[in-house]
Structures are given as C-alpha cells and as structure tokens.
C-alpha cells in the first residue's frame, strides 16, 4: 500500500459520512423531482411549479427580503461597530446589550414581534394611536404596503448585532498608528472612517455579507412564525413555498422540483459572489 492510498483509507470514514449526509439527500431530491406519485419518470413537476404566478411572486419577495435586509444589516452593523469601537464609559455593557437581538432565539423574537405589530392587541399601534401619531390602528402585518418592510425591519434588528461584532473585531485589528498618522496629516473623524477604517474592514464586510446572503436565502423562521407567507402570499418566500408544498400539501415531488431549481439559483448567486467580490477587495487593498 503506497502513501496516498493509506491517506485515502484514513479519510474514507469522513467521505462516507459526507456522502450519506450531503450527497445522498441531494441526489435523492433530484430523483424525487423527476418522478410522479407512482414512481414513473416525468418532467411535469417542474412545469407545475414553474407555471403558477406564486412561484415568481415568492422569488421576487425573497430577493426583496434578502436584499433589503442585507443593505440595512451591513449599514447599521458597521455604524454600530464604529460607535462601539470608540472609547466611552460603559462601553463593554453597551457592547453586550447590543448583542441581545442576535442572542434571542429566532422563534421567540418572531412571536414577540408578531404580537407587538398585531393590529388589535399590539403595543406599537397602542402607542402610536395613544400619542395621536396615527388616527387609527394600522394592519402592519396585513397591509400590502407595510408587511415586507416590517419583516425586513425585524430581520435587520435580529442580525445587525452579528455584523457589528464581526466588524468590531476587524476594527480592533487596525493598527492605531495609522489613525495617528492620519491625525498628523489633519484628517477629521469621517475622513479616518472613509480612508482608513472602511478599506481595512472591507474583507470582513465581504465575508459577513456573504454569510448574510447564504443565511437569508435559507431563512424561514422569522417570516414563517410571523405571517406564514400571508396575507395572500404577499410575504411568501421560496423556502416557505417549498415547505408548504411538501408538508402542508404533501406534494413531495413538486417540492423537490422547486428545491432543485432553488438550489441552482442559490448556488449561482453564491458562486458569483465568492468569485467576483474577493478579487475586487484584493485590488482595493
């Protein structure tokens, strides 16, 4: 037995586990998507999931939700990180408190927000009508103009602390003499942020945005617990549509077909991101 085949023997258990847990489900999903309920090969599942308007609507909602969330998560996260990097009294306490939204379990946060935004019993309508800011209760989670922005706001609240902590770690790695040199050259605070801080934390921002993108494409907890995709599919996103097809309607083959399509789209998005963005940062550096 030569060296390399001995090495192969050592990684065999790990490969076997990976095949069982990752490759098998993927292959089986593809197989499921290609058969009908009686096991015969068919392309009908793909036609059936592609045809209805709801599939396009759900995907559009998903892009809106993920895109909107990421922009504000990164923006607020970075601002919070810059703030938390300043020296002020009680800084570690504020840093800990900022983490709370991220630490709260998703389902707990979702249910709490759902109640706070409830039209009849919600504290948000109660405070806004009580202060005469709005004339009557607003159906935050049922109005077609507010439901997605509200869900994005909740998602931003939930995840911006994660961005803040990651960026903060990046900020602390920046050597202090760079700032001192900038000060000597007469740079003000915003110039320091723009010419030193942001370029140097850019790799962190890229990694975090990629993570947020992957998480966002999979995210089901918040929306499922708050609106289940309603009203009338206004907040339906593709992962929830797949879940409903499979486990509410028991159309496993169609759900598999949609999963395969979604997997391809997600894989392309992630591949493009991984390939394009880091090379840009290398140039920027």
């Amino acid at each position: 037995m030569n060296r390399s085949s001995t090495g192969l023997m050592f990684i065999l258990p790990a490969i076997a586990v990976l095949l069982m847990l990752i490759a098998y489900p993927i292959v089986y999903t593809v197989y499921l998507s290609l058969i009908d309920a009686h096991g015969a090969l068919t392309g009908k599942n793909y036609a059936n999931v592609l045809k209805p308007y709801v599939t396009r609507q759900a995907f559009g909602n998903l892009l809106y939700y993920v895109g909107g969330s990421i922009v504000f998560q990164v923006l607020f996260g970075t601002l919070a990180a810059i703030l938390l990097n300043q020296k002020f009294w009680g800084r570690s306490a504020v840093r800990s408190i900022t983490l709370i939204p991220w630490v709260v379990p998703g389902i707990v946060a979702a249910t709490t927000w759902a109640w706070m935004f409830h039209t009849e019993f919600g504290i948000i309508n109660y405070m806004l009508t009580g202060a005469h800011i709005i004339p009557g209760p607003v159906g935050w989670l049922t109005n077609k103009d507010t439901v997605m922005p509200v869900l994005i706001a909740i998602n931003v609240w939930k995840l911006f602390p994660f961005v803040a902590i990651m960026v903060l770690a990046g900020l602390q790695a920046i050597p202090a003499d760079l700032y001192e040199a900038a000060k000597v050259d007469g740079a003000n605070f915003w110039e320091e942020v723009w010419y030193i801080t942001l370029p140097l934390v850019r790799p962190v921002l890229v990694a975090v945005t990629l993570l947020l993108l992957i998480w966002g494409l999979n995210a089901i907890t918040l929306i499922y617990a708050i609106t289940q995709g309603g009203p009338a599919n206004l907040s339906l996103i593709t992962p929830i549509q797949i879940y409903q097809l499979a486990f509410t309607s028991f159309q496993f083959n169609e759900a598999a077909a949609l999963s395969v399509l979604f997997f391809i789209v997600a894989a392309i998005v992630v591949a493009v991101y991984v390939k394009v963005i880091p090379s840009n940062t290398a140039v920027a550096r």
Binding site: T119, P137, G139
Partner: protein
C-alpha cells in the same frame, strides 16, 4: 424460599405482561386524547359484558394524526379500530386500506345522510361516523338586545344578518367578525357554505372544473368579505382565525361570529357573566342554509388482527345511547340527538344546522385548492383585488391544480 418467591414473582409478572401483547381476543383501538376518559368507560363496560374480549386503548393526538394513520394503514401493522376525520375516509377506501362495514352498521337509516355519503365509496360503506358538527352563529345576547333586536326573532336572510350586524356595530364593538387569517381551514369552513347556500360551488361535482368565479360563488365571497369592507368585522380581520375571534368575543369587542359549539365551554369558562346566544347561519332570501359537516368516523384497517371482535365492539359503540355518550359534539345518529345532553337551548341552532351539512369536495388537491380560495379572500380583504378579479385568479389556480 428465595427461589420460590422469585418464581412466583416471575409468574405474576408474566400474567401482567401477557395482556400487553396483542393476542386473540384483544381489540386495539386508536382513540383521540380529548375523549380518553369516556373511551375508557365504554371499553370497561364492553369488557364486563364480553369478558373474553379485551379493548386496548391507544391514545392519539390531532397533531400529525393523518400521517400516523396513513403509516399504520400502509404498513399493515395497525390497530383494529381507528378514529379518523370523515374527509380522510375516501382516500383510504380508494387505496383499499380499510374494510367495508356494511355488515357492521346498525339502523343505517338513523344516520345523518350527508355523512354516510361521505363515508361511502363505490356503493360500500368504509367507515361508521359517530361525531358530526357544523358551524352556526354565536352572538352576545346583551349586544343583541341593546341594538333593539329580538332574540326570539333571529335573522333569517343575508339581508337580516347584515342589518343586525350593522345595528350591533357601535361603541368600539364590531357586529360580526369574519376570519381572514391563521390556518386556511378556518376561513374555508366559514366561507364555503355561503357559496353553497347561494347555489354555487368551489369545483364541479365531477371534480374536473373550477367554478369559484361563477356569479353565485363570487356574490357569496363578496358577501363574506363585505363584513370587513363595511367595517362590521375588526381591523385585525386579516390576522384573525377562529380562536382569535373567540378571544375578541370574550373581550367584548365582537358581538357575533361563526363557530362551532366547541367554543361555548371555553367562553363560559373565561367569561362566566357573558350571556351567549346562537342562531343558525342565515341564508340568501328564498334559499336554504348550509354548513361544512366535520367530525369523526371509525375505520377498521384492511390488515386488522381481530376484525371480528372489532366489529362487535363497533356495534356496541354505535348504539344510539353509547354514541350520544361518547361524541364530543353531536352524534351521527338522529335518534341519539334526543338524549338530555343535547337539549341545551344554546345547542339547538347547531343541531339544526346538521341536516344542512355537506362534505367538502373529494379531490386529491383539496389542501392546495383551499389555499387558493383562502389567498383569493385575503387579496380581497387586503384591498389588492375586487371579488371578481380575486376569484378569477383563484379559479385559474384551482383549474391548474385539477388539470395537473
């Protein structure tokens, strides 16, 4: 001495263990947790009269029950008797998973006709129904009389219903709450009967054509959603399911809503001073009312170990008295309705709905079809579409499901 005690212990424990194995003379019965105590009593009574037959209860819960039953039926290792919802029976019968029970049912003419039809496939009866229920209109008696209405003279027609709801809508109280949120079944149970009353349906009788954008159906959906459009139903309608409406009713924010009699006990418990009345669901002038007939039936799986004794036990369960004792809501037998427990005046309108009860359509796509109808209703309530446009879209979606 020690050895003897050990042997004695072994003998005793063997005796105790024996009945837990399914042996001849055992009937394994899957029964839901909400009627466990009554099920136990009936099983004990039967065992007293038939000492050679043991009834073994296995308690089920509603969460995930359809999947459990399906698994048990397909694996062939299921129990002898299972309680299932009427709507599931057709699927079992079509796939030859349960036994015909024409030789088991007694006095078939005494049963509610609609539910017998729902349990019949290809001319044979595949389940014996025991529990049936329909929705009716529950209202706050004080709000009703305060609005100058007479409880002895309930609203009969849709026009009366709207007029009464308008009168009761005052001082922060909403006259008539509809559902527009939560799980879609809540809204289908309340809105589909209105389509039926008006002479329409969601799909054609042969199950091939979607019919929800026909004028009768659209008019009924418009009537339903107008309660919200005219502000007779709360602002939170799009978030409210049956339970939310009950909470609003208990809180005094809602004067009436459509529900089943199962809401009466929770209301009495939460608000003992609240005076409650009930009406049969009003209908369009010159037509009759309707409701979805929900409830439970017994089936005997194809591969049951002990079908003979199971059938004997079913005949015991389905005597008029025992059925009336066991059901959580109403019995499927007309004669059982004479029992004292069903004579509460509050229950009368709910019982009155039973002859007008109809089963939901039998189609493999029912869940998605209901979802399409529910989404259409939500589009109307959220102001995205008018009733005709919403039902046109729902019709297209349903037709695509029926064609697929």
């Amino acid at each position: 001495m020690k050895l003897k005690a050990l042997a004695g212990g072994l003998a005793v424990s063997t005796l105790i263990l024996l009945p837990s194995l399914a042996v001849a003379g055992d009937v394994v019965w899957w029964t839901p947790n909400w009627s466990q105590a009554r099920a136990q009593k009936l099983a004990d009574d039967f065992h007293k009269a038939n000492p050679d037959i043991n009834i073994k209860l296995q308690i089920t819960t509603s969460n995930g029950l359809p999947q459990q039953v399906m698994t048990a039926l397909q694996s062939g290792s299921g129990p002898d008797i299972i309680e299932v919802q009427h709507g599931w029976v057709q699927g079992y019968a079509q796939n030859d998973l349960v036994q015909p029970l024409d030789d088991t049912i007694q006095e078939k003419d005494d049963y509610n006709k609609a539910v017998i039809a729902e349990d019949t496939y290809d001319g044979k009866l595949y389940a014996i129904p025991y529990r049936i229920e329909c929705t009716a209109l529950l209202y706050n008696l004080d709000d009703y009389t305060k609005a100058g209405l007479d409880p002895a003279n309930p609203p009969q027609t849709w026009d009366d219903w709207v007029a009464a709801s308008k009168k009761m809508t005052a001082g922060g109280v909403y006259g008539m709450a509809i559902t527009g949120g939560g799980e879609f079944g809540n809204t289908i149970t309340r809105a589909l009967p209105l389509i039926w009353m008006n002479g329409g349906d969601i799909i054609s009788a042969d199950g091939k054509t979607a019919t929800i954008n026909k004028p009768e159906a659209v008019a009924a959906i418009k009537f339903y959603t107008d309660f919200y459009a005219q502000k007779l139903s709360p602002d939170s309608t799009l978030q409210n399911d049956g339970v939310a409406n009950r909470q609003l009713f208990i809180a005094g924010k809602v004067a009436s809503y459509l529900t089943g009699q199962y809401d009466i006990a929770p209301i009495a418990q939460a608000a003992p001073t609240l005076k409650v009345g009930a009406f049969m669901t009003p209908h369009p002038a010159g037509k009759t009312t309707a409701g979805i007939l929900n409830g439970w039936s017994y089936v005997i799986p194809k591969d049951a170990q002990n079908p003979t004794d199971a059938k004997k036990f079913l005949q015991f369960l389905n005597t008029s008295d025992n059925m009336g004792y066991f059901t959580d809501t109403f019995p499927a037998r007309v004669s059982s309705l004479k029992l004292p427990r069903f004579q509460d005046p509050l229950l009368k309108p709910f019982a009155g709905m039973l002859p007008f009860g109809r089963p939901t359509p039998n189609t493999p796509h029912w869940v998605q079809i209901s979802q399409a109808m529910f989404n259409g209703i939500q589009r109307i309530l959220s102001g995205q579409q008018d009733p005709q446009a919403a039902m046109d879209q729902a019709n297209d979606e349903i037709q695509a499901l029926l064609d697929s």
